[in-house]
Each structure stands twice: as structure tokens, then as C-alpha cells.
């Protein structure tokens, strides 16, 4: 009956072909341990959505686990581009439903609110819209404003099967807090059919009740709670640990070719049994403690 689960159990609840919303933004709060386990379990054909494409999605795409990506563009910030995503788009192996940040956020918001569609000013006149009309015409419509008669672009609500969200603090019911900016995470969670929470810190519900204004993920949406420290490595978790610049540089370099990336996967994903072996491989306690966030700075 309880929701506490191992990462392997939580990942096993996701059938191939599922639509997964991921909480990462570029190189922060990415579902890295989750993505590694998805790859190890051989799950494929996923639809992945997020407002800004991030390292979690790039890893999954690079491993061939993703069929469609619904996103607003993305990068590894100054560390580079999403080479796996880009290569898959260029070679036609990934269907890229590419929007802008707000367009995806609005699609999640419409899903969260149970709206039939949401009008937006974004995308008009752009080639993003022209391309969407080819790739995903079923998600793009027009409506007439009943008050002015103006025509507006309308987007279909986005309702992922599951949102996977990397958080700082959660209880065993899945009530969770996010420190720092939340980008699209709250709307992802509230749009999705269910939620997997991956948390750095597991606290008693008593703690959640002391500061309930912070609870952006309500337990009743959550199916699995995975307590797994450093699960976003090598990306950062605000107030907990910094990104691992050295490892991200290694990743960015490895994604330049299919062959190099295969070697990266062999080493860091297939070469370890689980997250704990991964943490040892990347340098264990010594490396990880060097990344721990300063309590004032948050990084």
C-alpha cells in the first residue's frame, strides 16, 4: 500500500510508449538516475515532454528510448547543445514537436486546469508554428475570441501519463517541496495523470504540515516516492548540491558522435548495477562532498 519505492520499482511502473514529463531544465534538477534506470530496464518508445529540453531528455534520446519529444528547445547551457536530441532530429529518428517555453507551459497549464484548449499569442507568424502544423497538426487549432472576434492560436492541453519530478524534500505520501525557481514543474505535476517523486530528502509528514504553503506537489497525485540522494548528478539540485562541471563536460564531449556516446552509456549506465555503483564510479564520497551546496549560496 505504501508509496515508498526503489528507483527500479518506480521505473518498472512505466511501460514502453508512455508519455513522461521530466522536471529537468538544461543542467538543473534533471532526472538523471531515473533516465539511467529507464535505459537499463530497456524501456523504449517514450514520449518525453518538458518546457526546456534538458540533460535527462538528452540521455534518454541518446540511448534510443524516446520516440517523440514535446519541448521548447534546450541546451546544456554553456556546456553545449543537446547533441543527442539534435542528432536524432537531424537523422529523423526522433519526432520533435518543438514549441517555445511558454507554449509548452500553457499546454501543461490547460491540462492542469481541465481546459479544453488554451489560446496564446506565441508562435504566430513563426516557422515553429509552420513546422508544428506539419508534425503535430492535431495539437494546433484556431479559435475566435467571442468578445472581440479576433482569431487566436489555440493549443491542445498536454496531459502526460506520468510526471517524474526531482525535488529537494518529500514525505512518504509524496507531498513535496521545490526550492528555487520551479519553471514548469508545478503545471507538469498537475497536468499529469500521476507523479513519481524522486527526492533528495525524505521527511515526516509532520514537517510538511509545518510549512504547507511550500507544498507544490500534493501527495494525492503521487504513485511512487523514491528517496535517492544525488539522483540528479551530474546536474544540480539547488540548496543541496552543485552541478558537476567536469562530468558534464565529459558528457558533452561524449555526445559528439554516436560511437563516443555508446562508450559513455557502457561505462556510466550499463557498466553499473544501480545508482550506488554509479556514485562510486564517478568518484564516490570524495567527489560528491566537493559538490555539496553552501547553505547560504545554495550552490
Amino acid at each position: 500500500m505504501g508509496k515508498l519505492a526503489t528507483l527500479a520499482e518506480a521505473v518498472a511502473s512505466i511501460p514502453s510508449g508512455t508519455h513522461v514529463a521530466l522536471s529537468g531544465f538544461a543542467i538543473t534538477r534533471c532526472n538523471m538516475a531515473f533516465a539511467r534506470e529507464v535505459i537499463r530496464q530497456g524501456i523504449r518508445g517514450l514520449t518525453v515532454s518538458q518546457c526546456v529540453g534538458a540533460m535527462d531528455a538528452d540521455l534518454l534520446v541518446g540511448a534510443g528510448a524516446v520516440e517523440r519529444m514535446i519541448y521548447g528547445g534546450g541546451s546544456l547551457d554553456r556546456f553545449g547543445r543537446l547533441n543527442n536530441v539534435n542528432r536524432a532530429i537531424e537523422s529523423g529518428t526522433l519526432i520533435a514537436e518543438e514549441y517555445s517555453s511558454l507554449s509548452v507551459a500553457f499546454r501543461y497549464l490547460a491540462g492542469a486546469l481541465g481546459l479544453p484548449f488554451i489560446p496564446t499569442r506565441s508562435l504566430r507568424g513563426s516557422d515553429i508554428l509552420a513546422r508544428l502544423q506539419q508534425i503535430a497538426p492535431e495539437n494546433i487549432g484556431t479559435v475566435q475570441d467571442p468578445f472581440t472576434g479576433d482569431e487566436w492560436l489555440a493549443l491542445r492541453p498536454l496531459v502526460p501519463d506520468v510526471a517524474v519530478v526531482q525535488v529537494q524534500v518529500a514525505d512518504e505520501e509524496g507531498n513535496a517541496w521545490i526550492f528555487g525557481p520551479r519553471w514548469d514543474n508545478e503545471e507538469q505535476v498537475k497536468a499529469s495523470q500521476r507523479v513519481i517523486v524522486i527526492t533528495e530528502q525524505l521527511v515526516p509528514t509532520e514537517i510538511i504540515r509545518r510549512d504547507p504553503e511550500r507544498t507544490v506537489i500534493p501527495g494525492f497525485k503521487v504513485s511512487h516516492v523514491v528517496h535517492l540522494p544525488f539522483s540528479a548528478h551530474p546536474t544540480s539540485v539547488y540548496r543541496v548540491y552543485d552541478y558537476d562541471a567536469e562530468h558534464i563536460r565529459e558528457y558533452a564531449a561524449a555526445t559528439r558522435t554516436v560511437e563516443e556516446f555508446r562508450a559513455y552509456l557502457e561505462k556510466y549506465v550499463f557498466g553499473v548495477q544501480d545508482h550506488w555503483e554509479y556514485l562510486e564510479l564517478i568518484g564516490g564520497m570524495k567527489r560528491l562532498t566537493s559538490l555539496m551546496a553552501d547553505p547560504i549560496l545554495g550552490y
Partner: protein
């Protein structure tokens, strides 16, 4: 007092800062626009509000970050919220005065491409896409483009319009239902505006020590060139000091 010693990037940052008025709200990505915005806030625009799309208002970073995802650039923010809050309840609501944009290439009508180079239906290389850039280009009251002055980046027409400028020029932008539009293109050689009717790029000033030939020879198209083109106002000594000592001491953004 004007500075003698400054880099082209520093001049671009200063020119960007001069586009911002006190009390305005500016949406910025990372890089030079951050330097421009913090510079404006520390000089003539102390009541400027600076937004990052992922949910950050008025941070005071003390370390340089690698991008919006770096908690270094969130430090001491007054608000930490969300895309829906920043891009929805401020930008789409119509409250953003200025948005800074950059990209792979821009064109004679200020359209910006951050998505792909090549033929979108054939062979192309994909880049970073929109992020909030399309949203800013669509809903900000005005946008300022900062881009390097190279023929491959300043083209008659971009291969993919990620963020609309004036589209095909004239009234094409209004016809698409968009307000605002780009008001400046700042490069490392010159500053451009747009002709009020044709909406075509028009040279406004040339940076010190640059010639008109330098400007035109490094563009993929011919902009409108008025008979008299003034020299761009150089940075002041104090502006350069602020950039070097306080805003970008590691010179990550401003080169």
C-alpha cells in the same frame, strides 16, 4: 568621461544598457544581455526589474553562471517562481517593456533564427531552438537584438524564423497578430534600427574605429544607409569599470 580601452563586447553591453529606461521590466537570457541589464540597473536605471524566464526576478549574482540553469545567477532573487508566472503573468500579460534576443542569424526584417541551419525539409543542423525567445519576440513591447557582425549571421532572409521580427516587412507583423517588434540590432560594428514603414534594417550608428565599408562588407545584405551616420557613443570609464570589476569580473560574458 569616455573610456579609451574597451572590447567590442563591452561596447555592445553598454549599447544594450542604454536601451533600458528606469522603471522598465526587462526579460533577459544569459550572456551579454545580463551584463547590459545589470549595468543599466547600477547606473541610470536603479528601478529596472530584471526577469529570467524560469522564474527569477532581480537576482544579485556574485559569481558568474554558465546559463539560466545555474543557481549562481539566481542568487538573492526577490521572486523564485515559474514559467507561467514570468512568461505568462508578466510577459504574455503585456508587462515586459524590453526583451533582449540573440541567435544564430537575423535578417533584414529582424527575424531571428535559433533553431536550425540548412533546409528544414532536407539537410540541416539543429541548434537550441526557442526557449522563451519566441515568446519574448511575440509579446514584449519592444525587443533588442544583440548579435555578432558576420555575413553568415546577418542575412537577407533567415533559414528558419524562430522569433518573428517584422516577418516580410511592412505590416506583416501586425497582420500576424503580433504587437511590438525589434527596435535595435546591436553588433560589434554598428547599431541598427528599422525603417518605420518598410521595417527594413537601417544603419543608425557605426562604432568608433569602424568604417562604413567594414559594416557593409560583413553583412549578407544591404541595409538602409542614411546620408549621415553618426559614430556610436563610446562606453564611459565608469561603465567599463563596473563591467570589469563588479558585473563580469571573470570576463565570461563580455569577452
Amino acid at each position: 568621461m569616455y573610456a579609451e580601452d574597451y572590447t567590442p563586447f563591452e561596447l555592445m553591453a553598454v549599447a544594450g544598457a542604454r536601451e533600458l529606461k528606469d522603471g522598465e521590466i526587462v526579460a533577459v537570457g544569459i550572456g551579454l544581455p545580463v551584463v547590459a541589464s545589470f549595468l543599466a540597473k547600477r547606473t541610470h536605471a536603479p528601478r529596472l526589474t530584471i526577469l529570467f524566464e524560469l522564474g527569477i526576478v532581480d537576482p544579485e549574482p556574485i559569481h558568474t553562471g554558465v546559463g539560466l540553469a545555474d543557481p549562481r545567477v539566481w542568487y538573492r532573487a526577490k521572486v523564485m517562481s515559474s514559467f507561467v508566472d514570468m512568461l505568462g503573468m508578466v510577459l504574455h500579460r503585456g508587462l515586459v517593456d524590453v526583451g533582449f534576443l540573440g541567435g544564430l542569424e537575423t535578417d533584414a526584417y529582424g527575424n531571428l533564427n535559433t533553431t536550425l541551419l540548412g533546409d528544414p525539409r532536407g539537410t540541416f543542423t539543429h541548434s537550441v531552438g526557442s526557449g522563451g525567445a519566441n515568446d519574448i519576440a511575440s509579446s514584449a513591447k519592444r525587443t533588442v537584438i544583440i548579435i555578432r557582425h558576420q555575413a553568415r549571421k546577418l542575412k537577407e532572409a533567415v533559414s528558419f524564423v524562430t522569433s518573428p521580427g517584422y516577418l516580410q516587412g511592412g505590416s506583416a507583423r501586425e497582420a500576424a497578430g503580433l504587437r511590438g517588434g525589434p527596435v535595435r540590432v546591436i553588433t560589434d560594428k554598428a547599431i541598427f534600427g528599422f525603417d518605420p514603414h518598410s521595417k527594413r534594417l537601417r544603419l543608425e550608428s557605426i562604432h568608433p574605429r569602424i568604417t562604413l565599408e567594414d559594416v557593409l562588407a560583413n553583412m549578407g545584405f544591404q541595409p538602409l544607409v542614411p546620408d549621415q551616420v553618426p559614430v556610436t557613443e563610446p562606453p564611459t570609464v565608469e561603465q567599463i569599470r563596473l563591467i570589469r570589476e563588479e558585473i563580469d569580473p571573470e570576463r565570461i560574458y563580455a569577452g
